[in-house]
Amino acid sequence: MATAAEQWVLVEMVQALYEAPAYHLILEGILILWIIRLLFSKTYKLQERSDLTLKEKEELIEEWQPEPLVPPVSKDHPALNYNIVSGPPSHNIVVNGKECINFASFNFLGLLDNPRLKAAALASLKKYGVGTCGPRGFYGTFDVHLDLEDRLAKFMKTEEAIIYSYGFATIASAIPAYSKRGDIVFVDKAACFAIQKGLQASRSDIKLFNHNDMDDLERLLKEQEIEDQKNPRKARVTRRFIIVEGLYMNTGTVCPLPELVKLKYKYKARIFLEESLSFGVLGEHGRGVTEHFGINIDDIDLISANMENSLASIGGFCCGRSFVIDHQRLSGQGYCFSASLPPLLAAAAIEALNIMEENPGIFAVLKEKCKRIHKALQGIPGLKVVGESISPALHLQLEETTGCRERDVKLLQEIVNQCMDRGIALTQARYLEKEEKYLPPPSIRVVVTVEQTEEELEKAASTISEVAQTVLL
């Protein structure tokens, strides 16, 4: 039966062959020949595998010369020769052997050599020793840390606070914990380097808006809204953040927070506020830019600050609602993978908070002094003051640049050196020129602290004025 069926099929096939049109047969014939050719031709190999012999590989390895690990740095590079401070960097400072009045350290509330802080730190040293020998998750959490977090949360009137052991790492770890690849972040162009690094680590889409320009920001937000309407499903999972600083370190200006909050609710973006310079400076009780503008603190999703400026300690903290802050306890890299803050520094920070709560009058005094020096430094020939009158960290930039950044830096350094000879310690604002996206022009940093007396402020202003005249004209 099988053979009959086979024959029958064969007969059918032969018949079909006769009946098919000619072109069909020719096409099929060509295809079959092509397949046979492909089957028997050599497979296509990538060139190099068959090209390099072992001997050639060894030669390549011999020949290859890498760049030197580090390029040489010239001996008189301005950033290489540090100012060496002997003794404490407090109000009267001894720099490079000269005694000066300190206008360069960020010691806004003058707490760097406060005896109460030292006593609190000493008590902590006696009880705990110096280091914590472990990250927060593995027996590195001390009751001092929990205390400090509690106090900070209460002071800022938020639900929770979290402490980091280094100021730079605070915002650089907080941003990548929330903003991931695919999220959109709107940042001011004058944001500080720590924020830039945090953004780089987060791999999100970054959209920069002009410094303090709310119209530019609104334009970007509107563009984003139009994009969203084109692709609503993606828009539903893309988070949006606006990151601003309370008081900008690079320009000494305050961010327009009320408008930002309005934009936040209009375009549904979250605000992260970096208050390193404004914590302990602005506001009636020193709570920062939210108190300064009278905004409800719950409107800001995350406030991050470092404790190295007003609190005269080391480290940083983030505060906000528990919903937001608790996430960092497992995903903040600088929190989970790094040892916790030494308890003596935490104890000093608690004591500094106590002092801040006990005399809220110092903030008004600081504001007065800032205004005074701002006025006194106006009108220096050749230098212009950059920064608002309430900002304690000002910049003095050259009114007319020479055109070349190196020469500007040299001129400013000359002014700084002569001021130091006359007893006023100043410093230039240092940046990494190749790494910054929007490099600010070279400037001298002037820092106002509560401890500077009126005579000293006057003396500083007149010294700078005289020196500037001699150097620049």
Binding site: W64, L125, G129, G137, K197, E308, L344
Partner: protein, 490 residues
């Protein structure tokens, strides 16, 4: 192994069930929630990201973040805390569990202790200099203490120059980008620490990973890199940097330094070694893995380490040739933007380094190092004799003990705390999913009695929980050597 995955599977199922109950309102939701006004914003967290946290981690959360209220020495005091609602919130009872033996803190030389007379210099520096610095290294933040410390570190490591930074994590994440950039290649070990990975990512260089401590894998990558160059353009790489650690914190293994140096010389790559755990704890005089293997410090290009572990302080350093350190003084992110180290912390490091080097005229430092080595060997021998699976090199003071199942991890830690021993347990995501472990850090401050107490308790716990997985018990007879219970050799 099968039971481990089964355990995770059941946990996941329960997780889905609980989530469902929570969402439909049957079960009360204890987690924090978004503000009313912001409910129509894009959600801050994806549901899936937090799945593991909410359901698996929350159940055993009480084993981590245990607060203590004394110095983290050989014994410490743990604050007692209880939870009324299954670990969503904790309440401190106010009582303190005193004299818990500390097997968790990185206190290798036993220097993290309450104040005693030897710390008087730290007290003086605290009173003279204060605490904060308020400025960056390049501006007004370099104190004479920093200079003193840097000179001492360079002398300690036998290199030309060194630079110190305020935080160990930040040392890696801010200096690797300064050393390499686009067009360079980074070859990093599989199990490198988060700070090294972050630093490598931030630098913008291409990263390739080689298998943990596996020299063949590294050699293959090096050969391919030098011969074929960059992926598509075929241009030669500008530099090749190999990132390894001295002792790996989760494995306890020591890097095969002689092999890596031989490879590095042959292929002209640069070596960056992170000695966070090994500085001060291995080597005849505590100088780290370079001394452990008896090698020349000039062969390593970049030495990096932290002061948190053996030195009982905080901060990190990078040391090497003078031109390297000069370059970092100028171009490191930390030097330009981050505050410098606090003076009393610097003084503590100076004091400890002088102690280890013997510069204070006594041999106390040397004795501590020898005590640590003795304790390590004793502890590891007893553990493997008891039949536990222990990873790592025989000499490394970091001892991971494999537990595998997540439930056993929790039971282990809780029971041991009841017996007044504090241990550290780690699970996913710090370790692979199926290899949860308990990690012990042996310290020079542990006495023989303390170690014996701990070992007895571990023996009982091992029998109770059935974690003695090792196939070779008692004295290992060579013919019983089984692949299941291997130790990662160097």
């Amino acid at each position: 192994m099968v039971f481990t995955y089964l355990g995770y599977g059941i946990g996941t199922l329960f997780g889905y069930l609980r989530d469902f109950l929570r969402n439909s309102g049957i079960e009360k939701c204890n987690a924090a929630v978004e503000r009313e006004e912001q409910k129509d914003f894009v959600p801050l967290y994806q549901n899936f990201e937090n799945f593991y946290t909410r359901n698996l981690y929350m159940r055993i959360r009480d084993n981590w973040n245990r607060p203590i209220c004394s110095a983290p020495g050989a014994v410490f005091d743990v604050m007692e805390r209880v939870t009324d609602d299954y670990n969503w919130t904790f309440r401190f009872t106010g009582r303190v569990i005193k004299d818990v033996i500390n097997m968790g803190s990185y206190n290798f030389l036993g220097l993290a202790a309450k104040y005693d007379e030897s710390m008087s210099t730290v007290k003086e520096v605290l009173e003279t200099y204060g605490l904060g610095v308020g400025s960056t290294r390049q501006e007004m933040g370099t104190l004479d203490k920093h200079k003193e410390l840097e000179d001492l570190v360079a002398k300690f490591l036998n290199v030309e120059d060194a630079m110190v930074f305020g935080m160990g994590f930040a040392t890696n994440s801010m200096n690797i980008p300064a050393l390499v950039g686009k067009g360079c290649l980074i070859l990093s070990d599989e199990l490198n620490h988060a700070s090294l990975v972050l630093g490598a990512r931030l630098s913008g260089a291409t990263i390739r990973i080689f298998k943990h401590n596996n020299m063949q894998s590294l050699e293959k990558l090096l050969r391919d890199a030098v011969i074929y160059g960059q992926p598509r353009t075929r241009r030669a790489w500008r530099k090749i940097l190999i990132l390894v650690e001295g002792i790996y914190s989760m494995e306890g293994s020591i890097v095969c330094l002689p092999d890596i140096v031989a490879l590095k010389k042959k292929y002209k790559a640069y070596l960056y070694i992170d000695e966070a755990h090994s500085i001060g704890s291995v080597g005849p005089t505590g100088r780290g893995v370079v001394e452990f293997f008896g090698m020349d410090p000039r062969d390593i290009d970049v030495f990096m380490g932290t002061f948190t572990k053996s030195f009982g302080a905080a901060g990190g350093y990078i040391a090497g040739r003078k031109d390297l350190v000069d370059y970092l003084r100028t171009y490191s992110h930390s030097a330009a933007y981050a505050t410098s180290m606090s003076p009393p912390v610097a003084e503590q490091i100076i004091r400890v380094m002088k102690l280890i080097m013997g510069l204070d005229g006594t041999t106390k430092g040397l004795q501590k190092i020898q005590q640590l080595a003795k304790n390590t060997r004793y502890f590891r021998q007893r553990l493997s004799k008891m039949g536990f699976i222990v990873y790592g090199n025989e000499e490394s003071p970091v001892v991971p003990l494999l537990l595998y199942m997540p439930a056993k991890v929790a039971a282990f830690a809780r029971h041991l705390l009841k017996r007044k021993i504090g241990v550290v347990v780690v699970g996913f995501p710090a370790t692979p999913l199926a290899e949860a472990r308990a990690r012990f850090c042996v310290s020079a401050a542990h006495t023989r009695e303390m170690l014996d107490t701990v070992l007895e308790a571990l023996d009982e716990m091992g029998d109770l929980l059935d974690v003695k997985y090792s196939r070779n018990r008692k004295s290992a007879r060579p013919e019983l050597y089984d692949e299941m219970s291997f130790e990662l050799e160097d």
